[in-house]
């Protein structure tokens, strides 16, 4: 409230001060006061996920004063609420300005979550587990970001300019985290993670801008500070303190140069060069609870980890417009991420996941190190644009991208060939039609790891092509049109189809199909009516092939090997189908005086996972290939209705009032019939994160606004 008072006081002072000069100079702005009465049933956190709609009164203010040579401007929105924001700037036209910003960004996840732990919101959770959830303590999963910023811009020594900005973000709250309790695949516990982050950013740019040359150097520095480096919690079975590591403090800087020079023949050469470094450091745990029992690390080559990555980016682009009907562009981009972090050697006391390569027995004390992943990428491209008669434009392009990976187990290099052509036609004068096709063809240098290094995982690597690097053929088709047969009518329509075949993947994602249709229209009927409507449809279909338990303890089973009740292949096809429509009308009951605004929106999404076991013997315990599907994956319907009357009492004064209704229904197989405690490899404990997000809300509101 102190901030709110300060802002209001500042505005009032500015208003009084500027009014004194208003005759000579220009004063403008507005002030509004909105009152709201809300009735929210159900999940208030989801309703207010990124906003703060509650009963009360809030002002919006903007005040600007302009002498012709100097200006000052300030505004504040949602004052006093969790999503309030303020902006202030002042300066001399053509010479420079100063600005200040403040933004409040809420992110509400789940209210009324509960845990048997004490100390939620801190980095020390204490308490033994129990199943009497009625005695658990409640808390809210919610984050709030407060962003403070300011900066300046100087143009006093043209063609040079200088801009500098600094910003600080404070992020506080609680978000859900989790931890395994015993062996891999065993029980889990959901724990509230405290968020107390501070990020300070500084951005400086010095440039020179006059024809034919533009050049600028930039410096960016970011410092991230996490108040909590570990989340200590009482281990539910060991009943001693366990620790979850949290994001480390880090520092990042980047130095860059951008430039462009106009060359003869209507060409332009552009360059972007930058180098950046990210650093972090973390104290490593010297002891920890290994798979549910207290233990100590057998070795750790260093108790401190120093993270360091360098990125270099060099981009060049030559653009040309040699003829009125031809455009051309040549590009080259080099990007490298070098991982220079510490390599730490460590061991497991006894790992059920580390196997003797000959006997397949679990072994203890086998040392291993962290992998220093990095990559470098070269991109070469050529684009053209040719304008033909009848206002037909053809835009072919080609790109070649090769990426070399450091220390990835599965791939050394990927090569992408990307061909595309777009066609645009504006011949009829009342429409622009577009069509496009893009083909991405990826080939890779796949690594088949040595079996001796890690017998189980490595053998399976020959069947895996992880979709981020997998060989694939991706085809994208697009077609669309913007039609405006009348000045008062515009219609837009678009369709996009994208299919991706991960053709060499025996396991994992093999096929991805996406369809999208979007239509919208606007019509203005003189001074009486304005109508708008839209419809969007999307269908996503993904297909995966998997094998259950390919290693049975003594033998590795390939996808084509004989299956049985425990070692078998299965497939899943995941579908998401969404549609979204809305319509709105502005009815000018008394033109320029009374407007009735009505808007309705509806969103519906249904997800489905269709499973098939490819071995009948595996369908045990009442399972059939017809009764194992998940029929509701992130199913939801959201509808909202707003009706509002706006009465312009004078040119300066307006009054509006209205009603809004919003309804959200959500159903998900992973959250329905939610249980805070359940058995799965042992006792599991949840806190309610993301559960039961459905709500419906009624809001009555009225606003008085005055602008000048």
């Amino acid at each position: 409230m102190k901030l709110r008072t300060a802002i209001l006081t500042t505005f009032i002072c500015l208003l009084l001060l500027s009014t004194a000069f208003a005759e000579e100079n220009r004063l403008e702005g507005y002030a509004s006061l909105t009152g709201r009465i809300t009735d929210i049933n159900g999940n208030k956190a989801k309703f207010n996920e990124y906003r703060d709609i509650k009963s009360g009164v809030y002002p919006d203010i903007r005040l600007g004063y302009d002498t012709g040579n100097y200006f000052i401007d300030g505004s504040g929105h949602n004052i006093g609420f969790d999503n309030q924001n303020y902006h202030f700037d002042a300066g001399a036209w053509g010479k420079g300005k100063l600005f200040l910003d403040y933004n409040d960004i809420p992110h509400n996840i789940t209210y009324g979550a509960k845990s048997f732990y004490s100390g939620t919101g801190t980095n020390n959770l204490t308490g033994a587990p129990n199943t009497n959830t009625g005695t658990w303590k409640t808390f809210d999963y919610s984050l709030r970001r407060k962003q403070y910023g300011g900066g300046l811009r100087l143009d006093t020594v043209k063609p040079f300019y200088l801009s500098a900005a600094t910003a600080r973000e404070e992020r506080n709250g609680i978000k859900p985290a989790g931890a395994s309790i015993t062996t891999p695949g065993g029980p889990a516990i959901e724990i509230p993670e405290p968020i107390n982050y501070r990020t300070n950013n500084l951005n400086v740019e010095l440039g020179y801008a006059t024809k034919p040359l533009f050049a600028s150097v930039q410096y960016f520095y970011s410092d991230f500070d996490n108040e909590n480096h570990f989340l200590s919690f009482e281990h539910p079975t060991a009943l001693s303190t366990d620790n979850l590591t949290l994001p480390p403090d880090n520092q990042y800087y980047k130095i860059g140069f951008k430039g462009g020079i106009r060359l003869p023949m209507n060409t332009r050469f552009n360059v972007n060069l930058s180098t950046a470094r990210a650093k972090s450091n973390a104290n490593l745990l010297t002891s920890y609870i290994f798979e549910g029992t207290a233990d100590t690390l057998t070795s750790l080559s260093s108790s401190v980890f120093n993270g360091k990555t360098d990125t270099d980016n060099y981009a060049f682009a030559l653009t040309a417009h040699p003829l009125p009907f031809i455009d051309g562009k040549l590009i080259y981009n080099y990007y490298q991420r070098k991982n220079k972090s510490d390599e730490i050697e460590t061991t497991d006391p006894l790992s059920s996941t580390t196997l003797n390569p000959v006997t397949f027995a679990t072994v203890a004390g086998v040392p291993f190190t962290n992998d220093l992943f990095g990559y470098k990428r070269n991109t070469y491209g050529v684009e053209a644009g040719v304008r033909l008669p009848m206002r037909l434009t053809i835009l072919p392009s080609y790109r070649y991208v090769d990426t070399h990976f450091d220390n990835r187990l599965d791939v050394e290099k990927t090569r992408d060939n990307i061909y595309a052509v777009d066609v645009r036609w504006s011949g009829p004068g009342f429409m622009t039609a577009r069509a496009g096709y893009e083909r991405l063809s990826r080939r890779i240098d796949h690594l088949v790891p040595s079996v001796d290094d890690n017998p189980v995982e490595n053998i399976y690597e020959q069947y895996l092509r992880r979709f981020d690097i997998a060989p694939k053929d991706r085809d994208t088709f697009k077609i669309g049109a913007d039609i405006y047969p009348l000045d008062a009518l515009s219609v837009g329509i678009g369709y996009k189809y994208k299919k991706t075949d991960y053709k060499d993947a025996s396991f994992g994602l093999q096929d991805d199909r996406r369809n999208e249709i979007d239509i919208d229209a606007d019509y203005t009927f003189g001074k009486l009516l304005k109508l708008s409507a839209y419809y969007d449809y999307e269908r996503i279909k993904l297909h995966q092939f998997q094998r259950n338990n390919p290693f049975n303890g003594t033998t590795l089973l390939a996808p084509t090997d004989t299956s049985n009740a425990t070692n078998f292949n299965w497939v899943v096809t995941q579908k998401d189908e969404s549609y979204n429509f809305g319509a709105g009308a502005d009815i000018y009951v008394v033109p320029s005086v009374v407007t009735l605004r009505i808007r309705y929106d509806y969103m519906d999404s249904e997800g489905h996972a269709d499973f098939s076991y490819l071995t009948a013997a595996a369908l045990t315990g009442g399972r059939t290939n017809d009764n194992i599907d998940l029929d509701n994956l992130d199913d939801y319907q959201k509808s909202s209705l707003t009706a509002k009357v706006i009465y312009n009492v004078t040119k300066a004064l307006s009054v509006s009032a209205g009603y809004a209704y919003e309804r959200y229904r959500y159903s998900d197989a992973q959250l329905n019939n939610y249980q805070y405690t359940y058995a799965s490899g042992g006792a599991n404990y949840l806190t309610g994160a993301y559960s039961a997000p459905s709500y419906n809300a009624n809001i009555i509101f009225a606003t008085v606004a005055y602008k000048f």
């Binding site: 990124y50 040579n69 063609p159 989790g178 395994s180 891999p184 959901e190 740019e205 006059t210 024809k211 970011s222 991230f224 994001p247 480390p248 951008k258 023949m265 332009r268 552009n270 930058s274 990210a278 490593l284 920890y288 290994f290 980890f305 993270g307 990555t309 060049f316 653009t319 040309a320 417009h321 003829l323 009125p324 031809i326 040549l330 991982n339 972090s341 510490d342 730490i344 962290n370 992998d371 684009e383 835009l395 990835r408 837009g492 678009g494 996009k496 994992g508 998997q546 259950n548 338990n549 390919p550 998401d576 997800g607 194992i628 599907d629 959201k638 197989a669 992973q670 019939n673 799965s680």
Partner: protein, 311 residues
Amino acid sequence: MRKLFYLSRFLTALFFPVLISFGMVSPGSAQGDAGYVGADVCKGCHEGYYESYARSIHAKKAIPGSPANKHACESCHGPGAAHVSAGGGKGTGIFPFSRKQIADEKAARCLSCHEETEHLAFWDLSMHKRAGVSCDNCHSPHSGRPENLKMSTPGLCYGCHRDINAMTNKQSHHPINEGLVRCTDCHDPHGTFSSKMIKADSVNELCYKCHADKRGPYMWEHPPVDENCLICHTPHGSNHNRLLDKKTPELCQSCHETRGHPGAPYTRFNTFNPPAGGTVSNKLVARSCLNCHTNIHGSNGPSTHGKRFVR
């Protein structure tokens, strides 16, 4: 750097002859000083447009090179004498910035002043330019809005990017429609060197500006995290929580197929309320894989617990 120097020389040497071979003149037309009638004449018929111009930044005499220091309305619309002589008329003897005009011709009017600023220095690289978008599709000096935008974002952007609008309506989304994140926080509509005109050299660099906690560098890295956030996330909106492009556990199983629990099917028989014969599985319910693998963006945790992102 030496390699880069040679590379830039090579590119220039290779393609200059090609461009020179076109051997043609620039498309811009020289504009003489004759034929200007002055803003007062324009105001006589177009008072509304004139008033909005007068309130805009273009009318600031304090800004060197502004239309106010040139030919006011005629700085953009061209000399008006022929238009006046003809008795007016839309597009008669004047440059009206209409839909029927070629985008590059309209943009050239604006770029004659704005090209050599940091905002428009890389307009030639812009996807908008390539798509036939001109300045006046988004801006109007007569709009009276900040930055002369015809309407505020994101509505302005949604006018063409209908698919993005649909995504932002999904249940998991960045707070774009709530007005807390703007399209221009991530994208520069005037052109950048990067794909999708993002305001960074890579996707991750952009994301880390707000999500600095994900920046690490971590001891145990998850390779797709450091290569591209968009391998798992879709930034504008998703049906799935945390802006995931696919539902877990299937998202994770797309890559992780090995012995033990990663390769198992998690079906209706593993929900909180399974049919007879089923059992609840923590690999499916609640946060699925993330119930245990909570530090999926990277970990400094001990031994295999860190390597598998469970601590």
